[in-house]
């Protein structure tokens, strides 16, 4: 099958899957107990007030009518208004999306690069002390509990040593000061990013290292590696030009999906570091039955994951010409 035909076929599949997700999401959120009003524990909210709010939010209508409006609005590009913020969910998501991408996507890319590099070294020195230490540290880091690591980093680097801000994405003192210029503000964001980035890096690089190491070990047993050695190529060339590109394929799948999921942020990281990303909004919207906001967050994740799968498949065909679907 030609690459164009393959992409076209996959796009059709993606559309069908997306429609299914659209429907399942609608049903699942409405099946969750309660509604946006039932959680307000305030005796001043009378049953009549609650009913009025329910009507204003359109939740008193039969479920199929709500579903009809939901589909119609979606295809018109209207994802709705958040029940709690009173603002279009697209504006809420856009204001958070950049923050999430800048932190989580950077963390995935950096940890993948480090993981691939170190995994390559570990496999090359199999059974030696370097391999033992790298594998052990990867396993330890991979199993660390993220909020604990985050709090320890904050305590050591921000509180005890004091070189970093405790939390947040920007310093109010700098951003509220009209004399602060663009570069100072940019440096401020970079400064705030270091600790959460380091935490995410530490948690994630281990898995890439282990995947790369295992894949490299398989590749190094291939005949063409033996041939390359027989040809008298240097170890460095064999490792970097012959083994590593072939061994990187499983890592690419993993990185592709991690990149896609990185836009959903991480509620724990965002909470501990008070990072204003999508993860916290997602948790808030689900736990408070804010259907439009939850739907929009999940749909965004769904569409990015589906498309990134397609990109990974196409990348596979490019990296390994033997692969054809």
């Amino acid at each position: 099958m030609g690459i164009r035909k393959f992409i076209f076929k996959r796009l059709i599949e993606i559309l069908v899957i997306f429609f299914i997700i659209l429907t399942v999401l609608f049903v699942l959120l409405r099946l969750s107990p309660g509604d946006p009003v039932s959680r307000i524990v305030d005796p001043t909210m009378t049953p009549e007030d609650a009913q009025r709010l329910i009507e204003q939010l359109g939740l008193n209508q039969p479920i199929w009518i709500q579903y009809g409006y939901y589909l119609k609005n979606f295809f018109l590009g209207n994802l709705g208004i958040s029940f709690h913020y009173g603002q279009p969910v697209t504006s809420i998501i856009w204001s958070r999306l950049f923050n999430t991408i800048i932190l989580f996507t950077t963390a995935v890319i950096l940890s993948a690069l480090a993981g691939v590099f170190l995994g390559k070294i570990a496999s090359w020195h199999k059974g030696e002390r370097t391999d033992t230490w790298l594998t052990l540290s990867a396993l330890v880091c991979h199993t660390l509990f993220l909020p604990w690591v985050a709090l320890i980093f904050i305590w050591v680097f921000a509180y005890k040593i004091g070189g970093f801000p405790l939390t947040g994405m920007i310093s109010a003192e700098i951003w509220a000061d009209p004399s602060s210029g663009f570069w100072l503000k940019l440096l401020d964001v970079a400064h705030h990013m270091i600790l959460p980035l380091l935490t995410l890096f530490l948690i994630h690089f281990g898995s890439y290292l282990l995947i790369m190491r295992s894949s490299m070990l398989d590749t190094l047993r291939e005949d063409y590696i033996l041939t390359a050695r027989a040809k008298g190529l240097t170890e460095k060339i064999i490792r970097n030009r012959h083994a590593a590109p072939n061994a990187a394929l499983p890592v690419i799948t993993s990185v592709g999906l991690s990149l896609a999921f990185s836009i959903s942020g991480g509620a724990l990281t965002e909470t501990v570091f008070s990072w204003p990303g999508i993860g916290r909004e997602l948790v808030f919207s689900v736990s408070n039955n804010d259907y439009p906001l939850a739907q929009a967050c999940f749909l965004l994740i769904a569409i990015v994951v589906l498309l990134s799968n397609l990109v990974v498949d196409v990348l596979y065909m490019y990296l390994d010409p033997r692969i054809r679907y």
Binding site: S38, P43, L166, S171, A172
Partner: protein
């Protein structure tokens, strides 16, 4: 080569970034406050989350406030106490000379507009306090006369403490809303970027996800006035609200000096650490809160008042206070919190107070035995010794069916979840098949308040109003409906009669008598068993600002923000 570049690159970055970290420690007269979450909205009619309300409380102001020490109604935007005219069932309120933050005058038309807006749009959480206003007259710019359709006790304490909005700001929005298919939704969803209030502070900037910056209003009516014997400020120019997602980090920020106050109740676990830190002061205040166990009295076995009384005896509230709340709470024996001194009735049944475990079991056993309950193995043997009871039978001689005590999960509220578990054990000691079941908060409310499908539950109100009208709301027979506040399904005609009488009684002393009677009835019938009222633990830096005003529900009140000043002054 590459290695040496990296070695130089890392210190270079740290060198550039270090001065930024010092920016946070800059000492200036800005009061920095930590919030647990970002406010959701600045639209006062939509705001239902604590943090939006906190910020808006410094911008929009009511006619009357509560005094911090006596909780009496104090004229704030009003010039003096409201005048009641019984013949016309009307109140006259005169306004102080005041200005909105845009420099225009606060007039009686603004007050009338606010009332009409709430009534016309039936704004949730406000409408119930205004719906009985028949007519409003504004004879001059500083006098408002409210005509009530019927006597309403809550008018003074609830209606007059509602915040007032500016007609100029909201009239066009209201007009546009009326043209919409869903006017209320339009009004609630209207985005307010710069709220115009008449309070001590105005919004300067809201950097989403990071901070909210307020500065002192040049037009605040209270500045340099003496109200309730206090010389009102504010004495600070700016307030910066920062967001801290966890209490752990907020406590570190407080210790480091990044914030001067964390506007959120702290768990007792932080106390020792904070109290040892020089420069931090920990403050304790009572809350107007109620945490309780409720029963579904619509069905067996909890329709029986004797069973509820026996359970009230078995619950060791002092244990909950000392062990679960680590001593930072007050035992509750009535539905009205003891901190609400005027309305709290101390003369109610205290059930197991002062009894030890064996005495409790014996007392509960006697109540149940006299009511016709029997056991396979009674919890008190023939020699009068307490043993483990088994197989309790109801008066109709059936084995008691297992029942569930629903609680919020431990990650939502460990105190309530743990209390549920302890109650389960105390009830099992007498042979009751009780099972504590933590469940998601939304699901719990849906089951208890929406569908009424439950046996018993442990819930709470973190911030009850100071007017005790909630007592009527919680137990009035007509409020036993889906989403109604009578979650237990309690029905008592005499109580209803007293409750309705209390709602329309304008004489405070007579109303107090009625409210006390209502508390006694409820504590005799125990559809709810009040458990505890946790103490509010807050922490501030005492080396930067001073003058925080302690009050029921904590130091985060308008009096504090009008009194607090830098230590250097």
């Amino acid at each position: 080569m590459l290695k040496s570049k990296i070695i130089w690159f890392i210190p270079a970055i740290i060198f550039f970034l270090l001065p930024l970290s010092c920016a946070e420690q800059r000492s200036d007269p800005i009061l920095k406050i930590g919030l647990h979450e970002e406010p959701k909205t600045l639209n006062i009619w939509l705001a239902s989350d604590a943090n939006s309300k906190r910020i808006l409380s410094l911008i929009y102001q009511p006619l009357y406030l509560r005094a911090p020490d006596t909780l009496d109604l104090i004229p704030w935007l009003a010039a003096d106490q409201p005048e009641f005219h019984p013949d016309t069932i009307s109140y006259t309120v005169r306004l102080k000379q005041a200005k909105w933050s845009d420099g225009s005058e606060v007039t009686s038309a603004d007050v009338a507009f606010t009332a009409n807006l709430i009534k016309e749009f039936k704004i949730p959480r406000h409408y119930s306090q205004w719906k009985f206003i028949k007519k409003i007259e504004t004879p001059d710019n500083h006098t408002v006369i409210f005509y009530l359709s019927r006597p309403e006790a809550i008018f003074r304490d609830r209606t007059l403490t509602t915040t007032i909005v500016q007609e100029k700001e909201w009239s066009q929005i209201a007009e546009n809303a009326k043209k919409q298919k869903k006017p209320l939704r339009f009004l609630l969803n209207y985005k307010i970027d710069n709220p115009v209030g008449c309070g001590p502070f105005v919004l300067t900037e809201w950097q989403k996800g990071a901070y909210v910056h307020l500065k002192q209003s040049p037009y605040f009516f209270g500045k340099n006035r003496r109200i309730d014997r206090r010389l009102i400020g504010p004495y600070i120019d700016d307030i910066l609200f920062k967001i801290y997602g966890t209490s752990d980090v907020a406590v570190l920020a407080l210790k480091k000096g990044s914030i001067d106050m964390f506007w959120w109740g702290l768990q007792p676990g932080y106390l020792k650490n904070l109290q040892q830190h020089k420069g931090i002061k920990v403050l304790f205040n009572k809350k107007s809160a109620l945490y309780f166990m409720g029963f579904n009295v619509r069905k067996k076995p909890f329709e029986d008042v004797n069973l509820r009384r026996a359970i009230a005896v078995l619950i060791n509230k002092d244990f909950i206070i000392s062990r679960i709340l680590q001593g930072y709470g007050t035992r509750m024996d009535s539905i009205v919190p003891p901190g609400n001194k005027y309305w709290f009735c101390p003369d109610v049944d205290l059930y197991g107070k002062g009894l030890d475990r064996k005495e409790r079991i014996k007392k509960a056993y006697h109540i149940l035995r006299n009511a016709g309950y029997t056991w396979v193995v009674p919890p008190v043997d023939n020699n009068g010794h307490v043993v483990s009871g088994e197989g309790i039978r109801t008066p109709d001689e059936r084995l008691m069916e297992p029942f569930e005590i629903l609680t919020p999960p431990a990650d939502y509220d460990p105190l309530r979840a743990m209390s549920g578990l302890m109650i389960q054990e105390w009830l099992r000691a007498i042979g009751m098949p009780a099972f504590s079941k933590p469940m998601a908060f939304g699901a719990l409310l849906e089951q208890v308040k929406g569908r009424h499908e439950f046996d018993a539950f442990v819930l709470g109100y973190g911030r009850l109003s100071l007017d005790p009208d909630y007592l009527r709301n919680f137990f009035l027979s007509s409020n036993d409906k889906p989403r109604g506040w009578n979650m237990s399904g309690y029905k008592n005609r005499y109580f209803d009669q007293l409750a309705n009488q209390s709602a329309s009684e304008m004489n405070r002393e007579i109303r107090k008598d009625l409210i006390w009677k209502m508390q006694k009835i409820i504590m005799a019938d125990v559809p709810y068993i009040p458990l505890y009222d946790p103490k509010l633990i807050e922490a501030v830096r005492n080396d930067t600002f001073r003058g925080w005003v302690n009050m029921l529900d904590g130091i985060g009140n308008i009096w504090s923000f009008c009194q607090v000043k830098p230590v250097s002054r």
